[in-house]
Amino acid sequence: MEIEVQNISYKYPGSKAYAIEDFSHHFKNRVTLLKGFSGCGKSTFLRLIASLITPNSGRVTPHTRFKYGTNQYLRSHIGFVFQQLNLLPLASLERNIEIASKLSGYDPSEVSKWIKILGLEPFSKKSPKNLSGGQQQRAAIARAMVKKPAIILLDEPTSGLDDQNTTIIVNALKREITKDSICLIATHDSRLDNIADEILDFNTFLPVEEHLQALD
């Protein structure tokens, strides 16, 4: 599995500065960590890969069955864990995972499998508001992983988590991310370094002025 990123630039509507400017990279390793200061464009980059926003210029070419930017691409190939998790508030934890699974047409047994892997069985019938931060984080990861996506995008998946929760997540990722998939993790957390095949420092892609501002 590979993703070709060629000279992409993106600036948010109403903003004068580019969040990402002329970035190119060829992703071919299993797990890549994106590191850098806050605001250096890591989360924006993940959204661009997921096609939740589209680059102003340049091209993202994932080697996937469905074309970049289509609903099928999002449904079948992308597993995204947002920084704010974004669990469906009215659905139970199990139903949250099930919706994602069903949308991509996967076997319902995968749902129970991921609930087990991430140790969520005791809370599977609870709604997200009744779960702790760590439990919600694991539920969001289960929702992203359940459809066996080719591209797994994790935005700060372990921020604020204790070591126990982090270990559960790290072990699950180590075991389940196969050679057929690519995992991009935007993180500051060095506890994830040992699962990385590649670490990209996004600070080096910042324009000099913004780099200095970030250092300040």
């Binding site: 948010y12 509507p13 989360s43 959204r47 661009l48 997921a50 939740l52 926003i53 589209t54 609903n71 099928q72 691409y73 999002l74 449904r75 079948s76 992308i78 995204f80 947002f82 920084q83 704010q84 974004n86 469906l88 009215l90 659905a91 139903r95 099930e98 919706i99 994602a100 069903k102 949308l103 991509s104 047409g105």
Partner: protein, 383 residues
């Protein structure tokens, strides 16, 4: 459950929860179309009711009655008297639009035996069905002694016209003749007998009654055009001018009626559009999240469309079901204005269609902010 069921199921669950938590939102979406539709329906019904009353009063006040008089001088009288059959047939051949009766008043008078009081003499022909009967004794067209007091008068009366003494059958004066002559006694001669007396000049009287303004107007135009072409002068008495003014007012009222319905539609659209926009801002997070799972925009748009259509539909349906009760309540209050019974009232299909169309336009316009919102990339909403 398949994803196509699961996503709508979740959306509806979310919708119902929103309705319960924020009850004013669905209540507004039902109440506004309900109130505006009810208002439009009642305006339309009262307008139709007013029109019916007006039509009825016009009929009762003989507004569709036309009187035509032509003074035929002795010089022209012999020729015109000969043409009476064809002229009568010309005006009375189509009786489907109303009743048209002609008679001719002579410039001579008759007297009853042993009385010096002059009595008007008229000539009748086939258009007077009630007079065109054969006398059973003489087996010839009947000479009539028409009076208001037929019950106190012998059935056969001896009269004199000039030097001739004749017997006439007694009967009531037909209303058409009474309206024209304003006399309590008239002698009516059949055309065959009265034709020779018409040579000294006569007054043609046409009495026509129609059911609507179009037929009245058409008759007046025809008869005026005919006599103008013949270079003959007639006098027409009708309420056509007044009727035409009423018709103009009716047209203006129709525009106002359409205006009220259109305004209702616009108010509905703006209000629903505003509510939808505010709600969409609340819902945009959820919709963006579902889009990030690959849910097609069309599914989300269709859900929003269905949601608002159901609420507006309930409002409009409620208005169509409840207006009779409101009308009934108003009818009981308005004792001075006699309104029709409910069973006789209905809304015509064109008006129903206009109200439904106004509702549909309201729903479509309410979808505009949703459509704009769905265009916004999910990545700009989700953090």
């Amino acid at each position: 459950m398949k994803s196509l069921i699961l996503i709508p199921f979740y959306l509806w669950k979310n919708t119902f929860r929103r309705w319960i938590e924020n009850f004013s939102s669905p209540a507004c979406k039902i109440c506004i179309p309900f109130l505006l539709s009810t208002l439009s329906i009642l305006v339309l019904v009262f307008y139709a009711e007013l029109e019916n009353h007006l039509q009825e009063r016009l009929k009762q006040s003989a507004a569709y009655h036309v009187k035509v008089s032509e003074n035929v001088r002795a010089l022209d009288a012999p020729l015109i008297a000969e043409l009476i059959n064809s002229e009568e047939q010309l005006w009375t051949q189509d009786q489907s639009k109303g009743s048209i009766e002609l008679f001719w008043q002579l410039y001579i008078t008759a007297k009853r035996k042993h009385s010096s009081k002059p009595i008007s003499v008229i000539v009748y022909n086939r258009s007077f069905g009630e007079l065109s009967k054969y006398d059973t004794e003489t087996l010839s067209p009947t000479i009539w002694f028409l009076t208001n007091n037929s019950k106190q008068t012998p059935s056969k009366v001896e009269i004199t016209i000039g030097d001739n003494s004749l017997y006439a059958r007694t009967s009531d004066i037909p209303s058409a003749i009474k309206n024209h002559l304003n006399s309590d006694t008239v002698i009516a001669l059949p055309y065959g007998l009265g034709k020779t007396l018409m040579r000294n000049g006569f007054l043609t009287q046409i009495s026509a009654n129609f059911r609507n303004i179009e037929d009245t107007s058409s008759f007046v135009e025809s008869i005026e055009a005919f006599h103008f072409a013949e270079r003959r002068k007639i006098t027409v008495f009708s309420s056509l001018g007044l009727l035409q003014e009423l018709a103009n007012i009716e047209k203006i009222q129709q525009h106002i009626r359409i205006g009220i319905t259109v305004m209702s539609g616009i108010i509905l659209s703006i209000t629903l559009g505003c509510i939808s926009w505010l709600e969409f801002r609340q819902e945009s997070y959820l919709l963006a999240l579902l889009r990030s799972f690959g849910t097609p925009r069309l599914t989300l748009f269709f859900h929003a469309f269905l949601e608002i259509s159901i609420l507006v539909g309930i409002g409009i349906y409620g208005a169509f079901q409840s207006w009779p009760f409101i009308f009934h309540a108003i009818r009981n209050k308005l004792v001075d204005f006699p309104l029709s019974e409910l069973g006789t009232l209905s809304i015509n299909s064109a008006d129903t269609f206009t109200i439904v169309i106004a509702g549909v336009i309201g729903v479509i316009l309410a979808m505009v902010p949703v459509a704009f919102g769905l265009r916004k990339p999910a990545g700009l909403i989700l953090q």
